[in-house]
Symmetry: C2
Subunit: 314 residues, 2 copies
């Protein structure tokens, strides 16, 4: 199953050195979720050949301009392109008012419907389909800000259809799908692994921006497979990070290590860094499995090594 | 005196073929005026090396997204760059509310002051300094929309200081500056051209977008030196132009010819035209002094040929 994130923009508040305002696209089994939408996101989408009509869900973390100012333009472009599909927008209180006000003044009657869901608290289930859940994660920023947990659902065991004996009934097949051994009508016991393959281990991707590094985190984030965490500054700017409610590379990496994250992507770089390699150099001292976000790159949410996780699945 | 316009974006509602949303910078004697501010304008400014701290006045024609959605980002960027200079924004009713609402939700207290002037009617004097006046010009669009008349002021005659006889008093010098002949204290008559040079003919630049072609226009626009007029479509799309309150190239060119414009720039091209040369081909049938706006290009506001205008100056 596809589960990956493509970075459209990974700079902080200003455009600098070819880096753009925050936006990314999470692809879960060919369903795309746009996460944050800084100014110019629609241009980044065109450049990355992301078809606009594939976007049905947009998640906005908070109302600082570099995270949402591309949203109105995208809404108008959808309209101009003749979109009729519903659009679901998830954001903090106020975003709906900002959108409605601008629609009213443009006297636009959209050809499609916008459903707006206010993110009101931590651990709010925002979206769910057969593949995953998307849940809010409260950040610690200057204004209300939410990260997002993309959590794959546990799938069932997959039957080895060509090996199934006719002596098994419907009930036994369901038990096999749940990972259990079964006894057929002839009284023979079948071990699960003879007739079924275990499902992939569900993976979790967490988007965490903008925030002071969190003191703790809910269980859901513990050991997540991929964490995108802001690292606006290096430790030289520790006091600035604290004053502006951002994190340093060291803090993000220590957080990842403390919570047994599989892999860490750092982003939201300050415009003071033309060369962002010091951000990486600082982070890997604390957490070696760190990479720097690069615009246009796609990062797969990695599976855990099976041996490490096997005990927890079955 | 410098009097020119630099095109930052000249496409209509969508980004297409490397063309961007509407924005341009008028330079009058080193004072810069930003006219419209589509999404991504700050990136275009960086590309064209327009220093942000030189922008003190921003004029927004109307509240369709492709003309103003870059404004909030620019306001935030000014703030992040530590701007302290006042910023003057001129726009239709509603724009101030859109700005205030977004400042409120971002909980930003800007380091500088914004003065907002509502454009309420045609022929409203919006700005004036020693070089020029900027006046609203009502367009005919789907929603309230204003063009802008940039009108140089009549300057005085320039004295040929090295030739001035001491027999002339202060009063005579003032008369010379007004273009009159004078008599000195010895009773000698001096013709004006012996002691003074005529000032340059004041020029007028008009920005007209978005609009159905106007039936008539106020006197101020008659014979203007440079007219930027939208030409969203060619005549093949006549009915679409009418339905959407836009103009065709033929209509814009006929308008320019009818009102004795010196030079015409066409812009606001529909994204249906990858190659915009048909827009030009159509226009020059009616008005040969037409050029197509090109992003990054600067167009001087041309002076009239002296012989044509001399009668009207003196």
């Amino acid at each position: 199953l596809i589960f990956e994130v493509k970075i459209l923009g990974c700079n902080s508040a200003s455009f600098a050195f070819g880096r753009h305002h925050t936006s990314q696209v999470v692809n879960s089994n060919q369903n795309l979720f746009l996460v944050d939408c800084g100014e110019g996101t629609q241009l980044r989408m065109i450049k990355q050949q992301i078809r606009f009509n594939r976007i049905h869900h947009i998640f906005i973390s908070h109302l600082h301009g570099d995270h949402y100012l591309g949203l109105m333009g995208l809404i108008f472009t959808f309209h101009l392109q003749g979109r009729t599909d519903d659009l679901y927008i998830y954001g903090p209180p106020g975003l709906d008012e900002i959108i409605s006000l601008q629609l009213r003044h443009s006297e636009s009657v959209l050809h499609y419907r916008i459903h707006f869901q206010v993110i009101e608290h931590d651990d709010q289930l925002l979206f769910e389909n057969e593949d995953l859940q998307i849940i809010s994660l409260a950040m610690n920023h200057r204004i209300a800000c939410y990260g997002f947990v993309f959590r794959e659902k546990q799938r069932r065991f997959k039957l080895k259809r060509e090996l199934l004996p006719e002596t098994l009934g419907r009930e036994e097949l369901l038990l096999l799908k749940e990972g259990q051994n079964v006894t057929d009508s002839a009284g023979r016991v079948w071990r699960n692994e003879e007739l079924a393959s275990p499902p992939p281990v569900p993976r979790t991707y967490i988007y965490a921006a903008d925030t002071r590094v969190l003191d703790g985190i809910r269980e859901v984030a513990e050991g997540c497979n991929l964490l995108y965490h802001e690292a606006t500054f290096t430790s030289e700017m520790q006091s600035r990070a604290e004053a502006t409610f951002h994190s340093t590379a060291a803090e993000a990496a220590q957080f990842a290590a403390r919570h047994h994250v599989e892999r860490l992507i750092l982003g939201h770089f300050s415009s003071r860094y033309q060369d962002v390699s010091p951000v990486l150099a600082e982070a890997i001292q604390y957490f070696p499995h760190t990479i720097l976000a690069a615009e246009g790159q796609t990062y797969e949410v990695p599976a855990r090594v099976a041996s490490k996780q096997h005990a927890s699945i079955i």
